[in-house]
């Protein structure tokens, strides 16, 4: 596979800590220029997987390829990683910390200084440049941490729970920055438990639970495969059609509209045709897709029962 097709490839990756298997036989690809949502409940193995991707630890079995190559020190320069548990040096000036992180990513100092000014300006932190971490609010610190992640213009951005602790304005702002990355043909991987955000941002998703892959694919495919043939309807007339058990197995009333579970083998088009035939006046007819949240609860909940 060429570099443009897959930024990241994991094949049969397994990681154990003693008797505990944190990640088991995990394989997936992340395509270039896409936003990849890495979802799963706490303790599913997300952070362990991310740590292997960024080269902090190595897998016990299987291979990880970045840009078509094995992980190396130079490769780390093309990565931007924002860990879930993040920190800054407490008593150091913001600018000095950013310079250090940039140097560790192999940036020349003149180049780094330019970028630091640019990003501090953009994040409205310019006047805090020479302040120490302890002078900054928590939200400002998070913005500084984000700057350290993107400073060296990485080709692959890996963010572990990037929105936790941010106020809604800053969340919007971050989403805007991430969208920009996407248009620059860079790849973004982020893990989150906020399904709504994931739904808004992601092109592709991977859901893992208990060290194993549960669902993966593009957001549309996943949603389609979990479609439960539900239709939302707001109409006058056509009650007879809905009573026909060969068409609708279940009808639920939600305030001013009805939720209809289609019988097996019945498409939404067939129901719509029947309703029109029967002279129903339709103000709303919508095929309901399951939300990512529904899929998440459905899949993880199902696991819990087993």
């Amino acid at each position: 596979m060429s570099e443009t097709e897959a930024t990241l490839r994991l094949e049969n990756v397994t990681k154990r800590f003693g008797d505990f298997t944190a990640v088991e036989d995990l394989s997936f690809n992340v395509r270039a220029g896409r936003v990849f949502g890495f979802l799963g409940p706490n303790g599913a193995g997300k952070t362990t997987t991310i740590r292997m991707i960024v080269g902090i630890t190595g897998p016990d079995e299987g291979t990880i390829e970045l840009f078509g190559q094995r992980m190396s020190s130079e490769m780390q320069n093309r990565l931007g990683y924002l860990p879930e548990e993040r920190g800054l040096y407490k008593k150091m000036k913001i600018v000095d910390q950013l310079r250090y992180f940039a140097a560790l990513k192999g940036m020349a100092s003149a180049d780094a200084d330019k970028k630091i000014d640019f990003w501090l300006e953009r994040m409205n932190l310019a006047e805090w440049k020479n302040k120490k971490t302890t002078d900054l609010s928590k939200g400002m610190q998070q913005k500084v941490q984000f700057i350290s992640t993107v400073l060296h213009d990485p080709d692959l951005l890996i963010l572990d729970e990037p929105f936790s602790g941010l106020d809604p304005i800053n969340v919007e702002f971050m989403i805007e920055v991430l969208s920009e990355f996407k248009t620059q043909d860079k790849t973004v991987i982020f893990s989150t438990h906020l399904m709504e955000t994931a739904e808004r941002l992601c092109n592709d998703i991977l859901l893992i639970n208990k060290a194993r892959k549960v669902v993966s694919g593009s957001l549309r495919e996943v949603k389609a495969s979990f479609g439960k043939n539900l239709v939302a309807l707001r109409a006058v007339g056509g009650e007879a059609v809905l009573r026909d058990a060969s068409l609708a197995t279940k009808v639920t009333t939600h305030s001013d509209e009805l939720e209809i579970q289609l019988a097996e083998g019945v498409s939404a088009q067939m129901l719509l045709a029947k309703l029109l035939e029967n002279g129903a006046v339709i103000s709303k007819f919508e095929q309901i897709e399951p939300s990512l949240n529904d899929i998440f609860i459905d899949q993880i909940g199902g696991f819990k029962e087993s």
């Binding site: 902090i56 020190s73 780390q76 990683y81 548990e85 920190g87 800054l88």
Partner: protein
């Protein structure tokens, strides 16, 4: 390599640009300067002379007392006291005070007073009035029968609380009366000097070439070197630990590990902080050299300076080599501890054993100073953990054959390689373990894991 250098630069700046570094760097030479220079200045100032009246009807004690309290005699005594205090590090407190007394005692000025035809009561009254009027500071009444056992010398002073003056005076008076008693026993002044003179003990040591060398001052210099290495190793070791714990506690380690190899990061930290330590030592060495050459110009101290063993550039080189060996031994131990624990306080408990080892090494240096060629001195100056303190002390006290120094360097370098290997394995895993302190079996497992 570039990342390694970035870490070195970062860690070096982090230490050197701190206020505490500046203060400690300047404070030590300053304290040393105070220790050496201030007594010299005080001594040169001398106090105001004590004006005293001696009433001595027989006229036998006063002239001797006058001589004993003369400026020349006092100088001689003070110089001897200075030398004693440098030589004798174990002197008891009392002894110390006495020595200081002799150093600081100010001179006496004798005031004439006509006591003929006056009753003792009248003399006392007149003298008391003089003291009250501030014309004199003290008076001494020598009894007629001063050689008798129960004779009482009456000394009254405005400065009775001034133990410096009264003890110096008492010494001089005792000496004067003793001399007179001996003279009365028909022992001549010459005979007296001959009988009471000190034994002339030649205390010079011999070096390996059979050349005589002065051992005075060696003690002091070796002690200072040992103490300096001990303190810097303890301080920089713990600085490393604090820096490691900070990166772990704040979870910066995770960002760092995603940018550079853990080994590069750990070594960069050790080297960066080590260079900062070397910078500080260099400043101290230069200022010590400056201080010594300043003191050499002061006539009062030239003799003491001359007795400090000649410190050659080769010795300073050895000194820095052993500092670095010691630094890397203890810094890697402290880095290992730092990556095991979760807070600096917790690290403090674990820091106890290495600090104890360091302290034992420091204590061994006393044995080395006393007998640099004993087999104990040989072993402790070769053994890892101890050698970084004991070998420089031994080199200063009595430079051992080169092969011993080389052996010591090799042994300690091997120990460093082993310790860094251990520390890097613990560091790699420990830095990412949050929440609880690692147990020894856990650490053992990390070390064995490939």
């Amino acid at each position: 390599m570039r990342k390694f250098l970035a870490v070195v630069k970062h860690e070096y700046k982090k230490v050197v640009l701190k206020w505490s570094f500046l203060i400690s760097t300047l404070l030590l030479p300053f304290l040393m300067a105070c220790f050496a220079v201030v007594p010299a200045i005080i001594f040169s100032l001398k106090g105001e002379a004590t004006r005293i009246v001696v009433v001595d009807p027989a006229g036998k004690v006063a002239p001797r007392l006058r001589e004993n309290l003369s400026v020349e005699k006092m100088m001689e005594k003070a110089e001897k006291a200075m030398k004693d205090s440098l030589k004798d590090l174990n002197a008891s407190q009392e002894e110390k005070m006495r020595q200081n007394t002799e150093v600081f005692s100010s001179g006496f000025r004798f005031v004439d007073f006509d006591s003929r035809q006056k009753t003792p009561e009248l003399v006392r009254r007149e003298l008391a009035q003089k003291i009250a009027a501030g014309e004199i500071d003290a008076y001494l009444l020598v009894p007629e029968n001063f050689t008798a056992k129960d004779a009482v010398f009456e000394f009254r002073s405005r400065k009775a609380g001034d133990f410096v003056v009264s003890s110096a005076f008492e010494d001089a008076l005792n000496e004067a009366v003793r001399s007179q008693r001996l003279a009365d026993a028909n022992i001549s002044e010459e005979k007296l000097k001959e009988l009471s003179g000190n034994v002339n003990l030649d205390k010079s040591g011999l070096n390996e070439k059979g050349e005589e060398k002065d051992s005075e001052g060696t003690w002091a210099a070796a002690f200072v070197i040992g103490l300096m290495i001990y303190i810097t190793l303890a301080i920089y070791g713990q600085a490393i630990m604090a820096a490691v714990v900070e990166e772990k506690e704040t979870r910066i380690a995770e960002i760092l590990f995603s940018s550079a190899r853990p080994f590069e990061l750990m070594m960069g930290k050790l080297v960066g902080v080590g260079l900062a330590g070397l910078t500080q030592l260099a400043i101290w060495v230069v200022s010590a050299a400056a201080l010594l050459s300043f003191l050499a110009l002061q006539a009062d101290f030239s003799r003491i300076i001359a007795s400090i063993p000649a410190i050659t550039p080769l010795m300073i080189t050895y000194f820095l080599i052993f500092f670095l060996l010691g630094y890397f031994i203890y810094a890697s131990i402290f880095a290992l501890i730092g990556s095991m624990v979760t807070t600096v306080q917790e690290g403090g408990q674990f820091a106890f054993p290495p600090i104890m080892i360091l302290l034992v090494g420091f204590y061994f240096s006393f044995a080395v100073i006393r007998d640099p060629n004993s087999s104990l001195s040989f072993w402790v100056s070769i053994a890892p953990f101890f050698a970084p303190i004991t070998m420089p002390v031994r080199i200063l006290a009595e430079t051992p054959p080169f092969w011993q120094i080389a052996l010591s360097i090799v042994v300690n370098a091997v120990a460093i390689a082993g310790l860094i290997w251990l520390a890097s394995r613990v560091y790699r895993v420990g830095m990412l373990m949050y929440g609880k302190r690692a147990t020894i079996p856990e650490v053992w497992k990390w070390i064995r894991q490939a």
